[in-house]
């Protein structure tokens, strides 16, 4: 019989240890088996539970990952009950994380009733119940985004990631640290896909091994788009829906800092134009205009016949010779107003028509940017704020919807908040929109998803669910450019990294 001598020379025999072990296991099992129960008595509250993320009465797609949330109300014990026609599920604790199987079953119903019971000072309260509505409209299975700290000049550890929406799996598409060191840093940005196709992706690499990475059905290239024909290399991209063409804005961008305002930074284009890039011929076709016009954020119509974009007309206000246009724009940053335009496109000749005004925001002393058209071609969603182009830093920025049939424009109040709403992307079936919002804390961008009824109305948006409900509260990076995809990008980050290190192709 093995005997163990402890520090105090008390001898414990192995069988007695075994016995103790069994007792412990039994006690643990007993605790684990303690079934969560609805309290026998409680008082009713008319207030909704204070939960984060705010998932009360939201509409979710049937193929979304479980909506986990944290109960912020004060209390010592918590019980949450999910009820559908399929059954009931109970969870205890202030972190409510429905199990995968249960969640799948819940989602077969049209709506899920959620009741939260809170024990405070020995008294249970049932908070006002709420619903989670389940839409039969499926959502694209993947989104991608860049994760970036909301810094200004420095960057480290930038990643373009993809997230499976049906669960919590996130994986790396490309991370800048694979090709960065103390000597040569690398910024990556502006990922975009042709028609939601993950096999056709582009993103930019700046500084070390700079260029534009274009993957097209397995062919991977790094292109140097600096040709001298345009203000800069391609910046904000939009793939032609069917052809091997990408339109870009070319931008000369600067930033200056608010000394006091919580909007913190103002990013301005001092010069910007549009250009077209022919993937097949490696050719840049500039669309430069008068330098007093600042054209930006192009987006193709779904039929590929029009290129939408935003444009501001800005002429130097202070005409003194020693005042540069850049400085003049900084001084008068609130006077830079963008409106929405479009230009027709002739595929055969690759020629664009003259600019046509789509929405004159400047007339109302507003600034509209980021036009994105629904896949059915009828709805134009854009971001509008009081001034400027980079609305992610503007707290008054809201999402607006234009009916391209009637020309009617409205503030989508049902999805906007009193903080920043900016970048948005339609799902491939046009039933969902994902957009960036800083409503949580004004500084860190989080993706929100809303359902669209096809008639101009949206449901209350829900924040991208996470396995740990409070993940976004701790996470110190922003989600940049959330884009839907019909599947995952299959090229490994290391393959991108290796391609980036290879010689680039010089565009013509």
């Amino acid at each position: 019989m093995l005997k163990i001598k402890t520090k105090n020379s008390v001898q414990i025999s192995l069988p007695s240890l075994k016995r103790m072990g069994w007792v412990c296991i039994f006690l643990l099992l007993l605790t684990a088996c303690g079934k969560t129960k609805i309290p026998a008595s409680y008082t009713e509250s008319t207030a909704l539970p204070n939960i984060y993320p705010e998932y009360t009465d939201v509409t979710v797609p049937a193929n979304i990952a479980p909506l986990t949330f944290h109960i912020d109300n004060e209390g010592t014990d918590f019980v949450t009950k999910f009820t559908t026609s399929e059954g009931e599920w109970l969870y205890d604790g202030d972190d409510v994380c429905p199990k995968r199987k249960a969640w799948e079953k819940m989602k077969t119903a049209e709506k899920i009733l959620v009741e939260v019971f809170i024990n405070k000072d020995g008294k249970w309260t049932r908070m006002k119940p709420f619903f989670i509505y389940v839409s039969k409209d499926e959502i694209d299975p993947y989104i991608s985004y860049r994760l970036i700290s909301p810094s200004y000049v420095t960057y480290e550890d930038l990643t373009i990631c993809q997230r499976k929406l049906t669960n919590f799996d996130e994986s790396l598409i490309y991370g800048n640290m694979a090709n960065s060191d103390e000597k040569d840093g690398q910024c990556i940005n502006c990922h975009a896909y042709q028609n939601y196709n993950p096999a056709r992706i582009q993103f930019h690499v700046r500084q070390s091994h700079g260029g534009t990475i274009i993957a097209y059905d397995g062919k991977l290239e790094r292109i140097n788009m600096i040709t001298g024909k345009t203000v800069s290399a391609g910046v904000y991209p939009t793939w032609h829906p069917t052809e091997k063409l990408i339109a870009y804005s070319t931008n000369k961008t600067g930033q200056s800092f608010h000394t006091h305002d919580n909007q913190k930074v103002e990013v301005q284009d001092n010069q910007s134009d549009l250009m077209l890039y022919d993937i097949e011929r490696h050719e840049v076709l500039p669309l430069a205009r008068d330098t007093n016009y600042l054209d930006c954020f192009p987006f193709w119509s779904p039929d590929g016949k029009f290129l939408y974009y935003c444009s501001a007309h800005y002429e130097k206000i202070d005409t003194a010779m020693d005042i540069t246009k850049e400085y003049d724009m900084i001084k008068n940053y609130k006077k830079v107003k963008y409106s929405l335009y479009r230009r027709s496109f002739e595929l055969k000749t690759k020629q664009f028509g003259e600019p046509e005004m789509v929405f004159d925001a400047a007339k109302d002393s507003m600034s509209a940017t980021l036009p994105r058209i629904s896949p059915d071609g009828r709805w134009l969603m854009f971001t509008m704020g009081e001034f400027g182009v980079f609305h992610i830093w503007h707290r008054d920025a809201d999402l607006y919807l234009m009916d391209l049939q009637s020309g009617e424009v409205r503030n989508i109040t049902e999805i906007n908040s009193d903080n920043v709403e900016s970048y948005h992307s339609w799902s491939s079936n046009g039933k969902w929109v994902i957009f960036s919002s800083r409503r949580n804390d004004g500084n860190f961008t989080r993706p929100y998803i809303t359902h669209f009824d096809g008639k101009g109305h949206f449901t209350k948006p829900f924040e991208l669910p996470q396995k740990a409900p409070q993940f976004h509260r701790e996470f110190l990076r922003s989600y940049n450019i959330p884009e839907f995809m019909t599947g995952p990008v299959k090229i490994r980050p290391q393959q991108f990294a290796a391609q980036i290190r290879r010689d680039s192709i010089q565009a013509k």
Binding site: V153, D157, T259, H260, E474
Partner: protein, 625 residues
């Protein structure tokens, strides 16, 4: 019986001496590096959360850096932190002796490893602000400790295949856990002198060489292909320069293990020669001590800067001034600009700047580092905060957090600036993170109270001056990373009705030696204070006014409209000492007429070094960073 005791004594003598040596090291560390040790912790962060853990695991060596970050938090209490480190070093010595079967005097060689680790710690200097490796302070100690622990099974296993298996397992699985430190574990195993077939060893080593690139290809998408063999090692590259001497302490570690292995293998043979072993041990110990001494960063200004920062964070303004005046540790040297600015801040907060700001050493000594140290990293954020420049303080915290990793320090300033900017939700976010730390929960709770009761900020000892100073009209601006210049210019050109803000405009116009800016700010200052019960004009304001009148007697007076400076002079009740001191200065200047400006600066300093006149004429070209 007596013989036995003697034997016991002999057996214990070396371990006791080693422990005593460690205690001496600890006392020495706490004596001279206490402030730095505390700051090491402030510039680090450990959160007991899943996200923090998973974020650490993105890179090879994640477990090691995560554990190192955990251990760094104990430096909040330097005595506790150093004690823990000494315990680890004692364990390292004990394990080294055990694994290498060191006996008798040879055990003394085990002290070399803590000496190398000590050198890694005390050489840090300004890297403190620039090091990117999470938990870098503890990484070498834990790297060595884990390596030795992993070598124990290798020593205990008798089957050769099992040994090889263990070695391969450490080589492959150790890499994600410890990064490049797993190679040290393999190296130690290789040095243990246990016989093993050469070809088997070769296969094993080949596996080890192959594992990191394979892992990089399939698991670590964020690791550069040419850095796979230095994962979890600190980088001493700044810009284009890889500063080699900082690597020496790290190179010493495997070298010491080789020396120990040699002693372990050949020690018995050498013991026949009576004094040789002790001579060898003493020689290596002396070399070790010399090495530590060589790498110990004893820069006076660095130590003073850190101590002043710590004092400012405790709002101990008098201590800031005492540190500024304290005796230099080595060669006396002029202060750095950030020291001068911290001294000015302390005087401003004490309301004594107008009377004392030129009584302290002036200077613009560059920080002694192999690269240009910027105020944006060292002290600047704190200065921005205390002068109410919330936006710029927040900006540089964010930049530093992103580039050098999140730390308690930046989270605290981001919380405070968000509070004074009424950016409540993001303040709550940062405070909630701080509440999860071991030692900053109370701090966070204190500031959290301001979210619900912003009015408390106006009564708060720290914030009551900062809040009104931050209430100026917003505009777009940029500091071009020159914090001192930006503060001077914005204050000197600023106008504000807040009494503290106004005082700063006057002080900055004085420092900028700008006569045009001085007069309106001085007039406004007089208007604001003349009704005070104990009204008196501080010495340096008087000296500046007197000097400027003398320099421009025909200029229209700002104080007596319609008259010239010369006409107004008699109506201004300057202190006699001010007039006399000016006269003495000018007389002395006449006497030293043929001297160069540099010679005058030296000659005038004893008598006039504390006057504005001296500052105006003889303190020039203070290069800020």
């Amino acid at each position: 019986m007596i013989n036995l005791r003697k034997k016991d004594f002999k057996k214990l003598l070396i371990p006791v001496l080693l422990i005593v040596a460690l205690i001496i090291v600890g006392v020495r560390l706490l004596d001279s590096e206490r402030e730095i040790i505390f700051r090491m912790q402030e510039l680090s962060l450990f959160l007991p959360t899943r996200l923090f853990f998973t974020s650490s695991m993105i890179y090879p060596g994640g477990v090691l850096t995560w554990t190192a970050a955990w251990a760094t938090q104990f430096f909040y209490h330097p005595t506790l932190g150093i004690t823990l480190m000494l315990i680890c070093w004692a364990a390292i010595m004990g394990l080294t002796c055990y694994l290498f079967r060191l006996r008798g005097i040879w055990q003394g060689l085990s002290l070399l490893i803590p000496l190398a680790l000590l050198a890694c710690l005390v050489q840090t200097g300004y890297w403190l602000y620039y090091m990117k490796l999470q938990g870098h302070v503890w990484v070498p100690t834990l790297g060595v400790l884990f390596s030795l622990i992993l070598a124990i099974p290798y020593r205990l296993i008798s089957n050769q295949w099992a040994r090889l298996g263990w070695m391969a397992a450490v080589g492959s699985l150790g890499y994600p856990l410890m990064g490049a430190w797993s190679f040290l574990a393999i190296g130690i195993m290789g040095l243990l002198g246990i016989e093993i077939d050469k070809w088997k060893l070769a296969i094993c080593l080949l596996l080890i060489i192959a594992v990191p690139p394979i892992m990089q290809q399939w698991f670590y998408g964020q690791v550069q292909h040419n850095t796979v063999y230095i994962a979890a090692m600190p980088s001493f590259q700044y810009g284009d320069d890889n500063i080699r001497e900082y690597h020496y302490s790290y190179y010493a570690i495997p070298l010491i293990f080789i020396i120990i292995a040699l002693a372990s293998n050949f020690g018995e043979r050498l013991e026949q020669k009576k004094f040789l072993p002790i001579t060898i041990v003493i020689l290596f110990t002396v070399i070790g001590i010399w090495g530590v001494n060589k790498r110990w960063y004893r820069d006076t200004n660095f130590h003073k800067e850190v101590a002043m920062m710590n004092a400012i964070e405790q709002l101990d303004w008098e201590r800031v001034l005492r540190i500024m005046l304290s005796q230099d540790m080595g060669e006396p040297m002029p202060p750095t600009r950030v020291m001068v600015m911290m001294k000015n801040l302390a005087l401003f907060r004490l309301g004594r700047a107008g009377d004392e700001m030129f009584r302290y050493p002036e200077g613009a000594e560059q920080q002694h580092a192999p690269w240009t140290v910027r105020m944006t990293q060292v002290g600047g954020k704190m200065l921005y905060y205390h002068y109410g420049k919330a936006g710029f303080c927040y900006r540089w915290c964010m930049e530093d957090g992103v580039e050098f990793g999140w730390s308690v320090d930046v989270l605290k300033y981001m919380s405070k600036t968000s509070l004074i900017s009424h950016d409540w939700e993001v303040a709550r976010k940062y405070l909630n993170l701080l509440k999860k730390t071991r030692y900053h929960k109370e701090w966070a709770e204190r500031y959290e109270a301001f979210i619900e009761h912003p009015e408390l900020m106006e009564a708060d000892e720290e914030m009551k001056i900062i809040v009104p100073m931050s209430q100026f009209p917003d505009r777009l601006d940029g500091d071009n990373t020159l914090i001192e210049l930006y503060l001077l210019k914005t204050f000197a050109n600023g106008t504000g009705t807040d009494v503290y803000y106004q005082e700063m405009t006057l002080l900055c116009s004085l420092i900028m030696k700008d006569i045009d800016l001085f007069w309106p700010r001085f007039r406004q200052w007089l208007n604001m204070h003349q009704k005070d019960e104990n009204f008196r004009v501080p010495r340096y304001y008087q000296e500046a006014a007197y000097l400027y009148i003398m320099l421009e007697p025909q200029r229209p007076s700002e104080l007596w409209p319609g008259e010239t400076n010369a006409q107004a002079l008699s109506k201004i009740p300057f202190d006699e000492t001010v007039k006399q001191s000016y006269q003495n200065f000018m007389n002395f200047n006449t006497q030293c007429g043929s001297m160069s400006e540099d010679q005058k600066a030296v000659a005038f300093h004893p008598q006039f070094g504390d006057t504005f006149y001296y500052f105006y004429f003889l303190v020039r070209n203070q290069k800020t960073n």
